[in-house]
Amino acid sequence: MLNHRSDTSFAFPVKVSLLSAGLFLGLFFFLPLILVFGVSLASRGMYGGITWIVTWENYQRVFDPLVGMIFLRSLFLAGLTTLICAVVGFPLAYCLSRASKPWQLILLTLVMIPFWTNFLVRTYAWVLILRADGILNSLLIGVGLLDAPLSLLFTDLSVFVGLVYGYLPFMVLPLVVAIERIPPQLEDAAFDLYASMGGMFRHVLLPLSTPGFLAGGVLVFIPSLGAFITPYLLGGGQNMMLGTFIQQEFLVARDWPFGSALSFGLMGTVLLTWFLLGRMSVEKEPS
């Protein structure tokens, strides 16, 4: 196909940029990540520095019930976010992929825009909606449904809403790609064979959309698991997730070795998820 670009004659600047880009990412991406692992095995110094004594202590602390709770809460919230994004995102993705061309472009752009819009500001918008004297409470009290404001902000629920809001586009886009690949004739075939609407979805559309769900799952689960802005702004001090906990260990408690151990745990979970879901999607790929 188009892969016959001859690889003999490179212009000099191409060689230079290949080399320097590799060097740059090695120096400022891979080396720092390796350093995180190194520091996670060191001990904390007297005044918050690092003492280079090798120890497993930081990893043992990860199994402390309090720390474990934060780990589990993060896993749970990220998992739930992924699930709800899939459930809520699928109908939209389906409408998008089966819409007529001009509509498709408009809708796709509308889904893309929040994807690239300032995440901090979008999360802050939910603070305005959910806080005690925010939009939602004022509305409910104004209508007469409530007498006193509900405390909606700084709960697990508000973090969850913020995560779904923040990462939903990441689920919709891969789903659109997956559904577009399913020929509409397959749907017609199912109906010709007397499938109900529900039956067609269960037996034709959903199974064939699996690659989209897997790709979207990776793209939603990973950033949700390591989210910082959302739990910080919408969760407050009580409802910590891994991201806020790591930030606290680094910038407030100044316990770098423990913070590194947490970071490495997060990275391990992220890579494992990526690897597993990636493998599943390779197996599911129609040959």
């Binding site: 016959h4 670009r5 290949l18 991406f29 990540l33 929040p114 603070v127 004297d133 809001y165 590194s260």
Partner: protein, 265 residues
């Protein structure tokens, strides 16, 4: 659109509302005259006027733009060449190169933030503009490479082959064939990188030093110190600016250049 289940249409509409309502509310509130709370007290531009006169915010805005321009510019200089170099390699090498390139875009930003912070502090690098620009380049560089490579894959190599057959040197091929054909992708990547850098909070938060406050850092500290309507106005401005940049990037990348095959002429 035939036989679209109506429940799906309703659901899609609700999801769209869910995606856009908060932003609309935010922009609406930025015109609210009320200093406290969300009750509507009349239309005003005063929060925007206040913004325009706030020295700290203007300075942060300038910092953000300078950092975004520099990190995007350098990512482009390295990234375009790298993309061209990678596309000419054998297929076998590609899968792990892909993995390495996508990794900085996939891992949670906080990992990048703390890892860079430790490297900089342990090497006693002064935290400030330089460290922020490096931090932004770590994601801007792969972003540029991914976008430019996607375009390269659609280009017909026959254009370059034809130039070589006609006696062009590698330098000629690069500057007179490949780069002009890549122009839409390069502009698209530049605008997107600029937006991402302008909007970045987490990495910046970890590697910034005193005197290098960016706009998102400013918004964050304003939210922490207390709610003022000024934040709404600033947020509204930031939302609109990033939407414009992304829209522009999208439009530029859609512009067609000859990607079809030479042989069809």
């Amino acid at each position: 659109m035939k036989r679209m289940p109506s429940s799906f249409l309703v659901m899609s509409l609700l999801v769209m509302l869910f995606l856009y309502l908060p932003v609309v509310i935010l922009i609406g509130l930025s015109f609210n005259a009320s200093t406290m709370g969300v009750a509507w007290k009349g239309f005003t531009f005063q929060w925007y006027e206040k913004l325009a006169m706030d020295q700290g915010i203007l300075e942060a805005a300038l910092n953000s733009v300078v950092i975004a321009l520099l990190s995007t510019g350098m990512a482009l200089i390295l990234g375009v060449g790298t993309a061209i170099g990678l596309e000419t390699r054998q297929k076998r090498q590609r899968s792990w190169v892909n993995m390495i390139l996508v990794l900085p875009l996939v891992i949670p930003e906080i990992l990048l933030g703390v890892a860079l912070l430790m490297v900089f502090v342990l090497c006693q690098v002064h935290l400030g503009f330089g460290t922020i620009i490096i931090g932004h380049m770590v994601f801007n560089l792969p972003l540029t490479i991914v976008i430019v490579r996607a375009r390269l894959r659609k280009l017909d190599p026959a254009w370059e082959d034809a130039a070589r057959d006609l006696g062009a040197t590698p330098w000629d091929v690069l500057t007179r064939i490949t780069l002009p054909l890549l122009r839409p992708a390069i502009w698209g990547a530049a605008l997107l990188g600029f937006t991402v850098s302008l909007d970045d909070f987490v990495v910046t938060f970890f590697v910034a030093g005193p005197g290098s406050t960016t706009l998102p850092l400013k918004v964050f500290s304003m939210i922490k110190t207390g709610m003022t309507p000024e934040i709404n106005a600033l947020s509204a401005v930031m939302v609109v600016v990033s939407m414009l940049c992304v829209g522009l990037s999208w439009a530029v990348q859609q512009r067609s250049t000859p990607v079809s095959s030479v042989s069809s002429y």
